[in-house]
Symmetry: C2
Subunit: 284 residues, 2 copies
């Protein structure tokens, strides 16, 4: 990572830290990451090799099968009915996906359907605009965790990120992290709506707030995960955080490229096609 990028991340973090401390808030965790460290660690562990073995950079052969365990099998369309959710949960059991990723109205149903399967239930929060109040996001998180959600995928407050209101962005994420009570929280940046500087700031703030993952996209804003964005986020957050590549990941080849770029989780609705080599169904 360049010195320029380093300086930018550190400036963002220092600015937020100063405001939080001036306001008498809980001190921020250090955001040291390893973006200063061009080591083999970053190139090896961080770029997904720890979960995919040495094949991570070579998207062929047994990778497709391994991919299932990295996939959040996703159905977020507002028109999805109970029957559709049942279908997605059955597919996730059959193909041993890492999880299903659903809107919060469906969490109790999915948790019940997936009991004993080893497939987790992931809940989106403040989805897809990220413009819900912090209280609403925290409450949605808390209800989802009560209902058995294993992970939370929240959308960052995009407007406040773009407006440079970093303390508000940080507090929004921290409130969700607190409400998640140690369940991993992913912060969706919606990269297609952000400048490079905003992507860096969002990633740094997600890390400072104690999130577990940065996630690229909702799938609702046009655009989606790119190799460039995954690489940039990895540079900012270092190897300790996860990266979820989502939005437009439709084939095993797409997924493998994301993993090679640094992703360690894939969000997809075309998950069955990804692991079987079939044709993807309709998006989202």
């Amino acid at each position: 990572m360049t010195g320029e990028l380093d300086a930018l991340v550190e400036r963002i973090v220092a600015q937020v830290r100063a405001r939080v401390e001036a306001a008498g808030g809980t001190p921020l965790p250090a955001v040291t990451g390893t973006w200063q460290d061009e080591s083999a660690l970053r190139l090896g562990v961080a770029y997904g090799a720890d979960r995919l073995g040495t094949a991570a950079h070579e998207p062929t052969g047994p990778l497709a099968a391994d991919l299932a365990g990295l996939i959040d099998h996703t159905l977020l369309k507002p028109t999805a009915t109970r029957r559709d959710i049942e279908g997605v949960c059955a597919e996730a059991r059959r193909h041993r996906f890492y999880s299903v990723c659903l809107n919060s109205t469906w969490i109790p149903l999915a948790v019940r359907l997936l009991e004993g399967s080893g497939v987790r239930t992931v809940c989106v929060v403040g989805f897809p605009l990220g413009a819900a109040s912090t209280e609403a996001k925290a409450s949605e998180t808390s209800s989802a965790v009560d209902a058995g959600a294993a992970e939370i995928d929240m959308v960052v407050n995009i407007g406040k990120l773009k407006g440079g209101e970093y303390d508000a962005v940080l507090e929004d994420i921290r409130s969700v992290v607190r409400a998640a009570r140690s369940r991993p929280v992913k912060v969706i940046l919606e990269t297609s709506l952000l400048t490079r500087e905003e992507k860096i700031a969002g990633s740094a703030l997600a890390k400072a707030a104690g999130a577990a993952f940065v996630k690229t996209s909702t799938g609702f804003a046009g655009g989606g995960a790119t190799v460039e964005d995954v690489g940039l986020i990895r540079e900012v957050v270092g190897p300790e955080m996860g990266i979820k590549a989502s939005g437009g990941v439709r084939t095993a080849r797409d997924a493998a490229r994301m993993v090679a770029a640094g992703a360690d989780r894939i969000g997809a609705s075309a998950s069955v096609a990804i692991v079987t080599g079939g044709e993807p169904k309709d998006p989202t």
Copy 2:
């Protein structure tokens, strides 16, 4: 309204009422409406004439000026920043719009900016997918009301409506109505995603749950308000409820057609163009 439509609405309401009462819940308010009543009342009062005078069916002349008082001036893009919200609130003061309509993250700011202006602050809830949990919608509503929101525009649970889970749809709306503590609640159906039967069911359930308005669209799902949908909703809910036409209303002529069809509120981002006759800016 046809006897067929009558029977359909009554069947929906009877079904929900039986389930609620079997479960020992609070009895539903009667959903009598006046859809059985092809009277002058419906053609006069219900079709907006009470608020627009006799010009309601003739979208010319002084109507454009009168329209300002019917408009929820709307900015819901996730990329909107504090500066954009300030701009919308200034426009609403200048043109005396009925309200500004915003995502919940911006309610405290808008309430402060609009203090003393007579312009209300309207908050969207569960927006735009409607697939947030009932607890999340109620909490978002409660926080918005605490912050000074005057009205709540919630998105119906589209998937449960499509799946025929009418008791869940009803309880979702009722929870928001309770959390709104007597502030008017509008139920957004997202008509472009619904069949005719689903539009009827959604309207009947909104009325049964004690909502004040049915609203056509979020503006995020493609499609928007149509004259046919406004007329259909008016037939179902009768004259006691409001109808907000939103989505694709870009000119004074669009707005006047909606009012003539039965709308008594207009949701628009092109509000300034509507009242000045200028060119609309970018949508949403």
